[in-house]
């Protein structure tokens, strides 16, 4: 399990750094395109639909013509950040399974399921 822990640690750091890089890039892009715009966080309106549906969000961000929606890239970074723990738990389930530890493969699979279901509630 020791080697697997080291592997898991590497996955955690890498996924976090990639996500942080995407968010940073998206933030810079967003700021550059919004110089002079008023901030919009004081009143809660809920985010528009395309920021609440992960799939829709990806399409939106890839649509380069939508200049007003540059926030989409940040959103992809955020989703990457959030997928990090999901990936980790999934890998742990797989790791336990290969060690024939049925009990903890099951426990990890349950946690994985809760995470996936919450994401697509």
């Amino acid at each position: 399990m020791k080697n697997f822990s080291v592997f898991l640690a590497r996955v955690m750091v890498t996924s976090t750094l990639i996500a942080a890089a995407v968010i940073a890039f998206g933030l810079i892009w967003f700021l550059v395109t919004h110089v002079g715009a008023p901030p919009g966080d004081h009143l809660f309106s809920g985010e528009p639909k395309y920021f609440r549906d992960p799939l829709d969000m990806v399409w939106r961000a890839l649509d380069l013509s939508a200049v007003g929606h540059r926030r989409g890239l940040i959103m992809i970074g955020i989703v990457l950040l959030l997928l990090g723990p999901v990936l980790r738990v999934g890998l742990a389930a797989w790791g336990y399974w290969t060690e024939r530890d049925r009990l903890y493969a099951g426990v990890s699979a349950f946690v994985f399921l809760v995470l996936v279901v919450s994401f697509f509630w």
């Binding site: 996924s15 976090t16 968010i23 700021l31 002079g36 809920g46 609440r52 549906d53 959030l82 946690v111």
Partner: protein, 280 residues
Amino acid sequence: MNEPLFDIAVACAAFLAGVLGSMIGLGGGIIITPVLVLGFGIDIRYAMGAALCSVIATSSGAAAAYLRDGISNMRVGMFLCTATTVGAVCGALVASRLNTSALSIIFGGALLVTVLLSVRAKKEKPLTDAESDPLALRLRLNGSFPTADGEQRYGVAGVIPGYLLMWVAGLLSGLLGIGSGAFKVVAMDQVMRIPFKVTTATSNFMIGVTAAASVGIYLKKGYLDPALVAPVSLGVLAGAFLGARLLTVVPVALLRVVFLFAVSVIAVQMIARGLGFQIG
């Protein structure tokens, strides 16, 4: 103030929250939310969403270091995550039904409890296998961790009460957008009697997984504003990284007293705000 300036100010505040949070051991998430609400006038739901994302980022970094050192107990962490993730989903669903005043009051209360929990004394030696909960043996929760004198075995007590407390910790995490590390540590350290070092390491792993369970719901409810999440999570992440390194050079004991007091004042302000008063 325009958007870029506003975001830079938020990022700086988040950076400071990250430094302080990691130095006094509260975590950046629970500090940044009141700062955003009281200092920047941001809606508490957006603040919670941004804080929760920052919690995932910092917990991943910290947990990775412990995991590599072989200190955290993956079986305990995964087992208790079945309680915290379910609790977190419940908490996030409840949060979406509460108004901002109720959220402010509950947040302030949880912040006060967190401060109280973090000033309590640490203690005693690890349990043996014979002293541990029979259920812990069946679940193979007992483990060992490396110390200067070789591997130290430890047992785990109070599995069921610990599990129930973890559900509550998860609930608070989802309800308030915090890591609820202090509550997780109490459940493992005080109730399950796991050595403190293992407890902190394992709770770091659990914090990220727990937060991930409620963040999907926050996303659906529209609590994640990219223009706020980005500066907050990057700021807290960078701040926590620096804070962990400053720990060795700065007189932490005095800082702790000063900032725990400051955080208590902030907690009271959050409660006052929820009740409709404006102070300070």
